[in-house]
């Protein structure tokens, strides 16, 4: 019943904001500034009927997924090494600080200079997704229970088993939190990079073209597509992590006394 109520409230909130949007567009009365929800969705349906639409999405998704996964793998590996060795962390810290404080636009422009138009969004995506995952992995390694490590030392447990049994368990929740932050970032950064790099295929390219054509409804439609894809990816990620949790130990309530 509570779930039903929650769903109803969510749906009501969406309808309310759609109404606000509709009223504002009527008040402004200029489609170029603010197209109505109806026109936006009509544009979206027109886009959906074009085979090229799927090509744009496919290329953007490839950049987003490939960039995200590359960032996850590299940030995990370096995060583990830096977590275990303070000197490596010190060595990497200027690089991480620079990435964190440099505006995304600077990276996009540099990536366009250094790489091809197609690769620039991918490269920027990797660079921007790296720090949150890396930071969390380092934190996870540092928060490993030393008592368990002492136990493993006394029993002369093989290093691989220590890593998989103790370190990985400690890192897992931190890694998930880092990935969760990075996944949303990945969509925003990759599309922004596409807008500037203007590769042949990509949602960002289409956004820019719509802007040049003064087709604000299409800008809105593509923005809606980005939001929807980002939401779907976050839900998929949640499902995967919940699946992992289902295989994890039961909660305290199942305790045998």
């Amino acid at each position: 019943m509570r779930l039903m109520k929650k769903r109803f409230l969510k749906a009501a909130a969406i309808i309310l904001w759609l109404l606000v949007w509709q009223i504002l567009s009527v008040i402004i009365g200029k489609e170029l500034l603010l197209p109505s929800p109806y026109i936006t969705f009509a544009t979206l349906i027109r886009l959906l009927s074009q085979p090229a639409f799927y090509n744009q999405i496919l290329y953007s998704l490839l950049r987003i997924v490939a960039g995200f996964l590359t960032a996850v793998i590299s940030a995990f590996l370096l995060g583990v090494i830096a977590g275990l060795n303070k000197n490596v962390e010190i060595l990497l810290s200027p690089f991480i600080t620079v990435i964190r404080s440099t505006p995304v636009m600077s990276f996009i422009i540099l990536a366009i200079i250094w790489f091809s138009y197609n690769l620039a969004p991918l490269a920027v995506n990797i660079i921007m997704c790296f720090p949150p995952i890396y930071d969390n992995v380092v934190k996870g390694i540092r928060s490993t229970d030393n008592k368990l490590l002492d136990m493993a030392k006394v029993y002369r447990v093989q290093p691989v088993k220590v890593f998989t049994g103790i370190y990985l368990a400690s890192v897992k929740p931190f890694l998930m939190a880092g990935m969760n932050t990075a996944i949303g970032l990945s969509f925003r950064v990759a599309v922004a990079a596409e807008v500037l790099a203007n590769p042949r295929y990509g949602i960002g390219t289409k956004l820019l073209q719509a802007k040049y054509n003064l087709d604000t409804a299409e800008v809105f439609a593509w923005t809606f597509v980005i939001l929807l894809l980002s939401f779907l990816f976050e839900q998929l990620f949640k499902k995967i992590t919940e699946g992992g949790r289902r295989n994890a130990p039961a909660e305290k309530s199942d305790k045998i006394i």
Binding site: D150, M151, A152, G165
Partner: protein
């Protein structure tokens, strides 16, 4: 006899051991008795190399294989009871069947075989400690170190676990160094008892063959040990 001669160790400018020497009879349970903070746990950690940075003139304890029952069970929460025991076994030198047999027989000894698929956070404190005892015996060792493993358990649980521990120990009769500040536990389990004093840690009294004493001698020894412990507070 295992000998340790002239152990010296400091921590943050505080001298913990200054030329500390100790002899431990092999294949016996030796108890190190002393008040909290007198260096008992540090000594076990030095012997098992958990703690480094110390000097020693002679140590028969180097290169020995250890098992350790800690004050708290120290089980891996993400592994089942079975996998916790498997974790300390050397999978390279044991077949799956051998591993399975030794794990299950050790769990059976502590009556935890029925819970092999449970996770540690589903177990009570006493059950988790029984698993840690099974883990200590599943792997071959020369010396078993025990750091107040029965602390915090209720009296019934404690008695039950101590009995199970003795049962398992009688099967291999390896050297055990057992640390406690509980005099009754020491008299119940130990063959020899070393009473430790602090600042720096030293042996101030040794009770030999406590297990052989008759009831009246044991009472006299109990009173003597009690007096020594009281004088340390």
């Amino acid at each position: 006899m295992l000998r340790l001669k002239n152990l010296t160790k400091s921590y943050d400018d505080k001298v913990i051991f200054q030329d500390f020497s100790m002899e431990i009879e092999k294949n016996r349970i030796t108890c190190l008795l002393g008040k909290s903070g007198c260096g008992k746990t540090t000594l076990l950690n030095v012997l098992s190399s958990i703690t480094g940075e110390f000097t020693v003139a002679r140590s028969d304890f180097e290169k020995l294989k250890y098992s350790y029952i800690f004050q708290e069970p120290r089980l891996l929460d993400n592994y089942t009871v079975y996998k916790n025991l498997q974790f300390v076994l050397d999978s390279k030198h044991l077949s799956k069947a051998e591993m399975d047999e030794s794990i299950m027989s050790c769990l059976k000894m502590v009556e935890m075989d029925k819970y092999s698929h449970y996770y540690p956070n589903q177990l009570s404190g006493g059950m988790a400690q029984r698993v840690s005892i099974a883990r200590a015996f599943v792997k071959d060792f020369d010396v078993l170190l025990m750091d107040e493993p029965f602390k915090g358990l209720d009296p019934t649980q404690k008695e039950d676990i101590m009995e199970r521990f003795l049962e398992m120990w009688r099967q291999n009769r390896k050297t055990v160094i057992y640390v406690t500040h509980n005099l009754e536990e020491a008299l119940c389990l130990a063959y020899d008892i070393h009473v430790l004093g602090d600042s720096p840690t030293r042996i101030i009294y040794t009770s030999k063959n406590a297990y052989k004493m008759n009831d009246s001698d044991r009472d006299i020894e109990r009173n003597r040990l009690w007096e020594i412990l009281r004088s340390q507070i």
